[in-house]
Symmetry: C2
Subunit: 420 residues, 2 copies
């Protein structure tokens, strides 16, 4: 049982051990090696499909350099990126970004070939690509699409999650069930599950965040999009590895309820669905931050006492993106002066004499002044896999949380080495 | 002879070999070991003073966490940070930041003791500190102030420049003479010189940028402040090592013309003075960027074709602060996709199909698409100590330049290691 931050209600929600994008009834998936990558053991193409047409919603990169698959998804989902879809196909290795009109034709072809394999309309296929920018998709590799479709099973979520990995060190999956508490339909149990690939950079180019989430909860396209935007703003949009957002960021929600849509149940259970969707997205987002390139730690930055939500976000983001803060965490150094400096330049409005800062629950700054603390105890707490920084600006009641990772030598190696 | 960007006029301006903060007539300086640092060989206190009261202007950090010496300088310079001063005293090792009311009393005492040594009013002393945040100044060390004043000579600028260094690997100084071309006073030669310490971080805390610039050109306090703001906006404010601005950033201009002020000459030569002041500030700013912590290269980011100056600044700053861009430069990787990604998320308005990007004069992206280039030639050009990235957004006529450095393993080591 967990409590809804929004409503304060206690609702029945439980994680599914080993759950993922195929935990919800009616979904299957697969991941295979199609040849986008040289290494034969490396899975590089994934499909997530439903046994019927789904309500679908998408949230995409805001980057002006927007990749062809993102343009095609917006086109297929239609106005408001809220429509229907039957399948999502994803390749890793080539991002199909900065590829112009030919890239868009390739994405269109990728969708058409998938539609043929699955047996649905091309408009009901969504596509995503991740990998090198400025290269064209090797279209012959999509000859493997029928085999990919044939391989799709209700247990295939794990292979799909592995097939979309780039510099991720492990697949990212999770799923929750929740029990609707309100009539009509009280007691009905629904599932929300998903997979994601991390916000790390792929050699030789940029980060791509891709996530596919599925559910059997009944939604209209508009409600699906509303719920997804809410969840993404509280999860994926609160993750930063290095402040660089990609050309391909894509998050898709498939709700398998087109044929069984029930307006009353949908209305009665929407709040609970939102909480479950938030939980899935935040779980995946934290996995993403913890697996940032070269990361040795998940870093959680909590900002309280901000004058406005915008100020809270500015402050938390500036601390989370500060290379000075991220390097001192890698160095196990409770260096609150760097946090103070980042808060001070963030643009958030506050008075320095009102600021409190804690590292791992240890007070290090009170009223903007240094507080003596036990360095040995601090070093001990820095051994934890998650580092928590709490900042209270003493300027209001707005708060937020941003997740990031530390900056290590490994980060420089991964991103600084020659292309080859 | 160089050309004024502002007026297009050719003016007589020449660098002074080995010039610095004491190149202008009437100024002297010194740097000594007063004991703020443990290592006896390390200079840690500097003074720059004039033989008469000077017009003085200051530009200071915008960080909400503003250090005590900055507060005192604003107080002594008065409204608009434009007033008079006789001497500037600077210590390194302790930043006197986040030290509350006691810190401000200490800064006041630091100024009073300097005034006694120099023989001027306390209000005519400006102070700056750089070093560890959250520690109080060891006031007994200022017993060395009479010795510091006694040591000041017209050749002392070099020691002063060394005494303000923190993690800088070398002192930063330069000076130019310029010949006023317009009547009245045509043919008169003036000097502008300065020193700076870098925008690198001092263990265990934050960056401090400090610069003192001197001139014998006649200025009113208002004109001095106007010229300094103009120059800083085109130089120090265009440098970014890691996007972290400090609690102590201070830039002071002393114009030794209080007793010899000549309104006509001041008016006739102001444009030329501005060009010379810009040259001094940009020279010091480039030295600062090139000496960023762990830096192996100076990185110059030029943005052209922006819709507005704000867009140009946003775009250039976002590229210059991108860890992905900075690491690929450390790795000698002409990775234009990362530059494109940074431009795309910068908030600057443009269409991706209008964007051109060059690395070291080599076209790597045209109309938003990849352009084949000679990787071997690219690697050769990456051997240069300065890496130039040119971006044309094709959205207007605004342009700017930002200087930064690459991100190396050394950066992580310097900023990640334990305090000790």
């Amino acid at each position: 049982m967990i409590q809804s931050k929004e409503t304060g209600k206690w609702i029945g929600m439980h994680p599914i051990e080993g759950g993922g994008v195929t935990s919800a009834p009616g979904f299957k998936a697969a991941g295979i090696h199609a040849g986008f990558r040289k290494q034969p053991e490396r899975l590089d193409m994934a499909i997530v499909e439903a046994d019927e047409l789904c309500v679908a919603a998408g949230v995409f990169t805001q980057n002006v350099f927007c990749a062809a698959p993102v343009t095609l998804c917006r086109e297929h989902l239609g106005p408001g990126s809220a429509g229907t879809a039957r399948a999502v196909v994803i390749n890793s290795g080539v991002a199909n970004a900065a590829t112009g009109p030919r890239g868009l034709d390739d994405a269109r072809q990728m969708a058409a070939l998938t539609a043929d394999a699955v047996g649905c309309a091309t408009e009901d296929v969504l596509v995503a690509s991740t990998g090198v920018i400025g290269q064209f998709l090797p279209m012959d590799k999509f000859a493997a699409l029928p085999a990919l479709h044939a391989a799709a099973t209700a247990e295939g979520g794990h292979e799909a999650a592995r097939a979309i990995m780039t510099t991720d060190t492990h697949p990212k999956e999770c799923a929750f069930t929740f029990c609707q508490s309100k009539n009509p339909g009280a007691g009905a149990v629904f599932t929300v599950g998903g997979m994601a690939k991390g916000s790390g950079m792929i050699m030789p180019n940029m980060a791509t965040m891709i996530s596919v989430i599925t559910t059997d909860f009944p939604l209209t396209p508009e409600r699906a999009h509303e719920a997804l935007v809410n969840a993404v703003n509280k999860s994926f949009n609160k993750v930063t590895v290095d402040g660089d957002t990609s050309t391909n960021d894509t998050c898709i929600l498939l709700a398998r309820s087109a044929s069984t849509y029930d307006a009353d149940t949908a209305k009665a259970g929407f709040d609970e669905f939102q909480v479950a969707l938030d939980a899935v997205c935040q779980n995946l987002a934290r996995q993403m931050a913890a697996d940032g390139e070269g990361a040795s730690k998940l870093v959680t930055v909590n900002v309280r006492g901000a004058a406005t939500p915008e100020d809270a976000d500015l402050a938390a983001r500036t601390v989370a993106n500060s290379p000075l803060v991220k390097t001192c965490i890698a160095g196990h150094d409770a260096n609150w002066g760097r946090v103070a400096g980042a808060l001070g330049r963030s643009g958030a409005r506050f008075n320095q004499e009102d600021v409190d800062i804690d590292f791992m629950g240890m007070a290090v700054c009170r009223d903007g002044l240094a507080v003596g603390f036990d360095e040995d105890e601090a070093l001990r707490r820095f051994e934890e896999p998650e580092i928590v920084i709490d900042c209270d600006l003493g300027a209001g009641s707005a708060e937020t949380t941003v997740w990031t990772c530390d900056f290590t030598h490994e980060y420089i190696s991964i991103n600084g080495d020659y292309r080859s």
